[in-house]
């Protein structure tokens, strides 16, 4: 009789082991074949542009000339970025925007998600569809409409304030309110999407837990605090990540409604990148900004993934 280890060692040298290795190699080969179309697409449309963006960030380029005519600058674009006050203004605005969006969106989405999930009503489906519809309409169209809603004094929002005897803020026309107005627009547009995520998360919570909690005498608030919120943790972490990424990438409403103004108050990083590249013709500098933003996004994504792993 041989010990298991000896058996394994012997088998490792026998025909069945070769067959196992061949099978494994065959599986690997099949995996490569099946994955290669997707990998090719990812490499072509994600890896290559990212690599090229980094390469361009090391050059000076107006975009009017072929790539081969770019002038080498090394890390000079990155050094200039560190001394660029406008870039740091854009970074600060982006940070404020992200914090406000996350702070408003998450609790609101959780509250709306619970409102749309727990009540026994046939109107829930309609309410979900209506809420989600704002996410489906292109931002360009909704931003134009919101531009009219935000018109100072004569706009519908201002009229609503006047009707109740309040002085309306200047919305997009004042540096102090412009960024917040864009946050309100963002929350309105995206809340339906996040609410659906919350509803999806709520469906994963076993109803038995609520029943057990009720038997133990827990009311609605106790159930929310002790059952719903803890079991929604993975959903909320994922939502936070997506919200942060979406908020950092904000561009369309800034471009359409404020052009970064007034007085640079809504100049965010993505808008600065566009302005640098397409208006100033400094694609190298813009690429350095874009690559820096990518690094920040990767770092944030990594932190969230680590948090999710630790929680699970």
């Amino acid at each position: 009789m041989t010990s298991p280890s000896v058996t394994t060692a012997t088998a490792g040298r026998g025909p069945s082991a070769r067959w196992g290795r061949d099978l494994a190699a065959g599986h690997r080969g099949a995996a490569v074949v099946f994955l290669s179309p997707a990998m090719a697409v990812i490499v072509l449309f994600v890896v290559v542009p990212i690599g090229l963006t980094f390469w361009i960030s090391l050059h000076e380029w107006s975009m009017y000339t072929p790539l081969t005519d770019m002038a080498w600058r090394g890390l000079a674009n990155y050094r200039e970025l560190l001394a660029d006050r406008d870039f740091f203004t854009a970074l600060r605005n982006t940070l404020v925007y992200v914090v406000l969006v996350v702070a408003v969106t998450l609790p609101l989405a959780v509250a709306l998600g619970m409102l749309l999930y727990f009540p026994k009503s046939a109107a829930k489906g309609v309410a979900r569809a209506v809420l989600f519809s704002t996410y489906v309409v292109p931002t360009v169209a909704t931003a134009i409409v919101w531009g009219a809603l935000y018109a100072p004094d004569y706009g519908p929002f201002a009229q609503m304030f006047s009707a109740v005897g309040l002085s309306a803020p200047a919305w997009l026309s004042e540096p102090g309110t412009a960024l917040v107005s864009l946050v309100v627009f963002h929350v309105w547009q995206m809340i339906g999407y996040y609410t659906i995520l919350v509803v999806a998360g709520l469906t994963q919570i076993p109803p038995d837990l609520y029943e057990a909690a009720r038997i133990d005498g827990a009311g609605f608030w106790r159930q929310t605090v002790s059952v719903t919120l803890p079991l929604l943790r993975r959903t909320t972490i994922f939502m936070t990540l997506i919200t942060v990424i979406n908020a950092i990438q904000v561009f369309d409403p800034v471009y359409i409604l404020t052009q970064g103004g007034p007085a640079e108050s809504t100049s965010v990083v993505s808008f600065s990148i566009q302005r640098e590249a397409f208006q100033y013709g400094m694609a190298g500098q813009a690429s350095a900004m874009a690559f820096s933003l990518l690094i920040v996004l990767l770092a944030i994504g990594g932190l969230f993934l680590a948090a999710m792993r630790r929680r699970s």
Binding site: F45, P49, Y64, P66, Y154, S173, P262, Q279, Y280
Partner: protein, 450 residues
Amino acid sequence: MRIITSGGRRAGAVALSAALVIAAAGCGGTDAGGTGGGGGARAVTFLTHWGPEQVAMLKKAATAFQEKNPGVTVTVRAVPFANLLSTLRTQGASPGGPTIASIYDLWLPELVRDGLAAPAPADVAQDLSAGWPANLVEGVTKQGRPRGYPNEVDLYALNYNKKLFAEAGIAAPPKTWDELAATAAKLTKRDGGGGKVTQQGFGVITSWAAGVVHPWLSLVNSNGGALVDGSAPKLDDPKVQAATDLYAKLVKDGVTQPSMSNANANTTGPYLDNFVNGKTGMIIMANWWQSALKEAMGDRFADVGVAPIPVGPDGAASAPVSYSWLTMVNGKADQAKQDAAWKFLTYLNGPDSGQNGSSAMGDILVSMGILPSRTGDLSAHKAELSDPFLSVYVEQLPHARPFPAVLGGEEMSQAVQKHIENVVFGKETAKEAMDAAQREVAGILTKAGA
């Protein structure tokens, strides 16, 4: 659960556009000797930012040209004004990019440097010398050769609401800065006597570089100042600072309301709405907005008065900013396409393409309330250009000073915009703003190699 986020979609779109942009730019270069276009025809693409009505007129001229020139096809492609430069950047260097582009003169130095604005052939240069004012031909001449046909000319003047003037008992528009401040004060109305301003005396524009800088620079020029001297900024000149001080004073006095000044990407927005709705007494704007005013005001357009820019204490005469648009031919297109493009432009800007001796280009521009630059077009449209609104602009044209078209001009303009807005919103004093702008603009122009 598979979730596709908008961020994911955006990232995909960005990656895809980046790949396409890079591919287009990488493939850029002269396709010398080719005929271009499909089926042996020379296919010319005309990139413009005009609206549907003007595009229809341009297409009509293109059709007439094609009938006379078999083998050449002219396709018109219109994009919004805000996307014109980015379209040119992403597609200009590609052989399949636009053959003709309508461009703002501030963009010309960079386009010439990078070989996109082709030099005009000898016959076109001759045509220009014979039919256009010399200063305008000079404006489109870079490195010793004309780079396109000058088309529209825009300049600034004081626009005011005659009805509001009458209500306030004001007989005539202001001629000096002191009169401007006094008139603005008379026109300003507040809720309940001392409350919120419901009608501002003098409006400014924010969130739009040209809308901010050009009216302000018109006041600077009319005070004997200048934005640059060659490639050296002059923002710390007291004559320039005085115009910024004027803005600060108007805001401080409450006769200019920054919250009524916003513009959007379509160069419309509250600043326009407030003037149209009689909430702004005076504003400095260019002639091209005549069509927007007419459309928005209807019969009330008759209330709009136009006057020269008020003169500052150190100025001798009104000297508004002017700028122009030109049509250039893409130097990256193959030679056959370039030849066809110049031929079409010569026709489009010639007396045979339009009505009553005007060129088709002249007809298109005048339909928008824009001043044409060809001498023959100015004569052909004398009647339209004599209306009370445009006639003041036409009278001021000889005194206008072109906005400096230098390398780095776009960035310079936006740097100045930022600091003027900082003054308007009380974030900087006039001196702080102009000193900071002076440093920034000096750096921008040096870096751009202006």
